[in-house]
Amino acid sequence: MNTTYVPADYLPILIQMGLALGFIVTTMLVTHAIGPKRHSVKKDDPFECGIPVQGDARTPISIKYFLIAILFVLFDVEVIFLYPWAVNFKGLGMTGFIEMVLFMGLLLAGFFYIIRKGVLKWE
């Protein structure tokens, strides 16, 4: 049995894929082209029944939500580092301790900065 294939051997598969894709595309285009179209106000409404649409769905949301959300993610993710440290506390020894203190120090500095900047004040 032939076990080595050259790219040319895959040609039938490629043709098969092309045909399948071509069929779908052609069908969609053709139906669009030959189908009758009648527009009216009622017909173009999103809903034919229920409450009339009011305004745009894209209303601005206060930037504070994003800030709080992002800050939460930030600090939450950083705290994850505490778990592996706690598990390996003995093994990492003094170096690990100092590194962690530096890390937490920086984190706290950031936290202090945020509070001083008034990011968490809601008004």
């Binding site: 920086l106 500095a109 900065y113 001083r116």
Partner: protein
């Protein structure tokens, strides 16, 4: 390595200094920090070290690039004038972001591992997105930031994909590992390797705004506040070229035949696109944006040739280019500010046009001289640093035998003279009813220093040689 540590700490300190009532301490503090970093940078002089498990390295070349980057940011910060006339500005944050971005730039200069390169590029780029949009009330600034961010993210994706493919092919993220894989080029390398290399190159070429990946440049440079445009067009470019040079020289010399021709074609396209398009511009700032694209082209000559002289050529060129660009943007800032006050026109476009410079040399000889010197240097006229920069670049191309590229470059520098001299003509031969512009002492010192450096390097280019 000291600058990275120092700058990180200093940046945090600056953030807290911002809580002080008085803004006046920020500018001197930042300048002091930069000088400290510059001094610390040279502590390892003439030694070669690997840091952080061979993630980063310092040698003389990387130290010289770091020094150029620090010097450029020193000049830019000194010209920023602590944003005293802008109430809404937040100088502490701006300076801190500049320092953080410098950390990224230094990582890009001294990386030994592709991951470090990626981290450096991202630190620098994200900082730039913020600075571009820092003029929050200005629509153009916002638009520029968004464009920069979207396109930058796109390019980063491509670059990261390239790194992943390289890792897949060679099994290593370190430059040395990739180089040892590439050294078997004779036996044939995996296709993945070549694809990865191309994608990584495309990502980095985007960052240095080489054509055809330059489309973001004019819009972003034009929209960003002028002071940050000066920063972007010098520091980011220098760091980008240092990264490219290190990457290609350390890992991919074995496969030069593969990428050399591509880079040469990109170089030619960049030169043509930058120089020719700059001719038509009416805004000086936009002209400078295209000029920065064209200078990316000149710098690329050294990379496309990658000969023994390339290192020296790229170092010299980036220094000459940075100094000239910063002082040109400095003068532009003064002129724009004064025009804005004089005409009370809210349309910044007219304040940045070439006409804004009419008669400048008669009212402010120093500003005229500074601008003329930088324009001559950018155009590559002898007795300025820019001339020798171009000269070294062209000689690398000659060494490689890329004569066609040389011809394109020479023709394009002739085109360059046209638009650089428009400013000089406007300043010296046109009349403008301008009041003399008041220049603060710091500005004066920076401009004089830039003039002296440009002409000094132009008269004695040997001063910088033999340093590394």
């Amino acid at each position: 390595m000291f600058p990275i540590v120092l700058l990180s700490v200093f940046a945090v300190v600056l953030l807290f200094l911002g809580f002080l009532k008085s803004r006046s301490v920020l500018l001197p503090a930042t300048l002091l920090f930069l000088v400290a970093a510059l001094v610390a940078n040279f502590l390892d002089w003439n030694k070669t070290y690997l840091y952080f498990n061979s993630m980063l390295r310092t040698d003389n070349l990387s130290m010289v690039f770091t020094a150029i980057v620090l010097l450029s940011s020193f000049l830019v910060v000194a010209l920023s004038g602590s944003f005293e006339d802008d109430e809404a500005a937040q100088p502490a944050e701006y300076y801190a972001i500049i320092l953080f971005s410098l950390v990224g730039a230094i990582m890009m200069i001294g990386y030994e591992n592709l991951v470090m390169l990626f981290v450096g590029v991202e630190i620098l780029s994200v900082a730039m997105y913020i600075l571009t949009g820092s003029d929050k009330r200005n629509l153009r600034s916002n638009e520029a930031a968004l464009k920069y961010f979207l396109m930058g993210a796109f390019a980063t994706g491509i670059m990261l994909f390239g790194m992943a493919l390289l890792y897949g092919a060679s099994g290593s993220f370190t430059l040395a590992g990739i180089a040892s894989y590439a050294s078997h080029a004779q036996q044939g390398l995996s296709l993945i390797f070549y694809v990865g290399l191309l994608m990584l190159l495309v990502g980095l070429l985007f960052k240095v705004s080489a054509a055809p990946f330059h489309f973001w440049t004019p819009d972003v440079y034009d929209g960003a506040p002028t002071i940050f445009t000066a920063y972007m067009s010098t520091v980011v470019k220098t760091a980008g070229f240092a990264a490219l040079l290190h990457l290609l020289a350390a890992s991919f010399t074995y496969v030069y035949s593969f990428w050399g021709i591509i880079l040469a074609v990109v170089t030619a396209i960049t030169l043509i696109a930058g120089n020719v398009t700059a001719v038509y511009q009416n805004s000086f700032k936009r002209m400078m944006a295209y000029s920065s694209i064209s200078h990316a082209g000149y710098l690329l000559i050294g990379l496309a040739a990658l000969s023994a002289q390339s290192r020296q050529a790229i170092v010299f060129y980036s220094l000459a280019y940075s100094i000239a660009t910063i002082s040109a943007f400095g003068v532009l800032m003064l002129v724009t500010r004064q025009r804005g006050m004089q005409t009370l026109s809210s349309n910044p476009l007219s304040n940045e046009s070439f006409d804004a410079f009419n008669g400048l040399a008669k009212q402010n000889p120093l500003l005229g001289l500074a601008m003329a010197t930088s324009m001559l240097s950018l155009a590559g006229i002898p007795l300025t640093a820019g001339f020798w920069g171009k000269f070294y670049m062209f000689s690398t191309a000659v060494e490689r035998g890329q004569i066609w590229l040389l011809v394109v470059a020479v023709l394009m520098s002739a085109v360059g003279i046209y638009y650089y001299f428009r400013v000089i003509i406007a300043m010296y031969f046109r009349d403008g009813a301008t009041e003399p512009i008041r220049i603060s002492p710091v500005f004066r010192y920076v401009l004089v220093a830039a003039i002296i450096l440009t002409i000094g390097l132009g008269v004695a280019p040997g001063l910088l040689q033999g340093l590394f």
